[in-house]
């Protein structure tokens, strides 16, 4: 499939205007979601624009380079989605493979019986597809991690396929997701070993919810409301991979949390605001992560990994006790 070159559609005069705009902005740095919303409001920008300005400032690169690089990341993300949908890829550990394809075929043959509707089902199948490519040791983009790499591309490719959003707009929303991820990574964690699955799948769900809100034309505050809701619904999620493999439950959590991200975006667009401010939810996630025992932080020792079936599978795959 030929890749659309975004810069062909880009008006150079607008770009120099944007440059002037960002030069006037000065310090764009943000460590809290509240600050991110304030910056966006102060400069009448979207969250993706604030992220772009920060990236220009911090990395000393220009807008074309950044957008081109982001476009390349999205290409890899989309390739992983398509590959996982089209092919039945057995995982290295042998626990999963073919679920994305199964879901996709179900949607094609039973479209009228779809419980979720076409966009959410596609997002769910796409997310599982990327998780399957990942477990097959195929190429993916960590968003923000490999364990949670299905959610953002899963949802964005589903929205791209509705043909209601330009590829350029979808790629720009990756910057929105990045801004949210940066805040969470720096003030809490995106590591399952440090903060549990909430830090990986929870962060990815929150990032995706914000990207969806911006694509749908929501405000920066609404995007951050979606982050608060998405994270609230992910708090406490433990990292308990069976046999220590990024297979079960990772694939289900990616698939089902793609739907959660869409749901959080819908709630926020309806005007629902999380009672606990999003930054405080991020703080709660950090505290919860610190309270988790090591057995529930990516050691493959507790939770689902410690169930009779989990133990039996570990024994089968890795041997030993």
């Amino acid at each position: 499939m030929p890749r659309q070159s975004w810069y062909l559609f880009f008006d150079v005069s607008k770009m120099s205007f944007f440059k002037k705009l960002t030069q006037g902005v000065g310090q764009m740095f943000f460590t809290q979601l509240k600050e991110l919303v304030e910056l966006a409001h102060a400069h009448k920008q979207k969250i993706s624009d604030v992220m772009l300005a920060l990236e220009i400032e911090e990395q000393g690169t220009d807008e074309i380079t950044i957008r081109h690089h982001m476009s390349e990341q999205f290409t890899v993300m989309e390739e992983a989605v398509r590959r996982g949908i089209d092919q039945v890829l057995p995982s290295r550990g042998g626990l999963i493979g073919g679920d994305a394809n199964r879901l996709w075929r179900h949607m094609q043959t039973n479209a009228r019986q779809s419980i979720l509707g076409p966009v959410a089902s596609a997002a769910m199948a796409n997310a599982m597809a990327v998780s399957e490519v990942n477990a097959h040791m195929g190429r993916i983009v960590a968003t923000p991690t490999a364990g949670a790499a299905g959610i953002l591309p899963g949802v964005l490719v589903a929205l791209l396929d509705t043909q209601e959003y330009s590829r350029m707009a979808v790629e720009a929303s990756l910057l929105t997701a990045a801004a949210i991820g940066l805040v969470i990574a720096n003030s809490s964690s995106i590591s399952g070993a440090a903060g549990g699955c909430q830090a990986e799948v929870g962060s990815a769900t929150a990032m995706t919810a914000a990207a969806v809100v911006e694509l749908y034309g929501g405000s920066p505050q609404e995007a951050v409301d979606a982050v608060g809701l998405a994270l609230t619904n992910s708090l406490g999620l433990v990292c308990d991979p069976v046999a220590g493999l990024v297979e079960v439950p990772c694939i289900y959590r990616n698939g089902l949390h793609a739907v959660t991200a869409l749901a959080a975006a819908e709630c926020a667009m309806a005007g629902i605001r999380n009672v606990i401010p999003a930054d405080e939810v991020v703080g709660a996630m950090y505290d919860i992560g610190n309270s988790l025992p090591e057995s529930l932080r990516e050691t493959g020792l507790g939770g689902l990994a410690a169930t009779p079936t989990g133990r039996r599978l570990r024994q089968q795959i890795l041997g030993g006790s």
């Binding site: 550990g93 195929g138 940066l182 990574a185 090591e294 050691t299």
Partner: protein
């Protein structure tokens, strides 16, 4: 609670979050592990003949399932995180005559995903401790038992040297003369006048001419490495 506005932060770029492009299955246990090993190779300066990986915390528990063993081997062989040969790295290492051993060690002092790498070549050896922080982000925390802070995200200059007055000033002057901004710096010595190690992370990249301008202190430099981002 989380960070305040003035705390140094670990994740700086949109591509720390939307990235890296990598071979699965785990950004911390595969891509991050690979980058730690790649840094060890660069600090050694050439291909090792023998490597011991001491795995700590979550690395020790799940390394086979996550392909951490393959990723560490790939990194020490000089592959990048998106190299599609990564799944076969152990076999490639074996064919090339590189001896690799994995052991478990107690790692309570470090981040949950940490590895100590002891790499030996015919000429030299190095001991590196590095942690994988999540999302492919890493931190090298010790080199030859000297505490350092190297992210692998930026170019770095690492100098093993003899502790003496004016050494650091000369290095920093040379760096400044190249118009280079220092982002991070770590310095530790074994004893007064003994062996010391300085690690400097910079914005942009070094030119090899930088090493020439260290001529006045050449006598004191035991070993130097210019390291590109991994």
């Amino acid at each position: 609670m989380g960070a305040d506005n003035h705390r140094p932060i670990k994740y700086h770029s949109a591509f720390d979050i939307i990235g890296p492009v990598m071979v699965g299955p785990s950004s911390s246990h595969t891509a991050g592990a690979l980058r730690v090993a790649l840094m060890a190779r660069k600090l050694l300066g050439h291909s090792p003949r023998e490597v011991v990986f001491e795995l700590m915390g979550s690395f020790a528990e799940t390394y086979r399932g996550h392909g951490t063993d393959r990723a560490l081997a790939a990194g020490i062989l000089g592959m990048s995180a998106d190299d599609l040969r990564l799944p076969d790295a152990l076999e490639i290492a074996e064919k090339s005559g590189l001896k690799i051993t994995f052991t478990k060690a107690s790692g309570n002092l470090y981040h949950p995903n940490t590895v100590r790498i002891i790499a030996k070549s015919a000429q030299d050896h190095i001991e590196v401790i590095g942690s994988s922080l999540g999302g492919g982000k890493i931190e090298i925390v010790e080199v030859d038992a000297f505490p350092v802070r190297l992210s692998g995200d930026r170019s770095a200059l690492v100098l093993w040297h003899r502790d003496q007055p004016g050494f650091l000033a000369t290095v920093l002057t040379a760096v400044a003369n190249e118009g280079i901004n220092v982002g991070r710096l770590s310095l530790e010595r074994a004893s007064k006048g003994g062996t010391a190690l300085v690690a400097i992370e910079i914005d942009g990249s070094y030119s090899v001419s930088l090493l020439d301008s260290l001529a006045p202190i050449r006598e004191a430099v035991l070993k130097s490495r210019l390291i590109m981002p991994v």
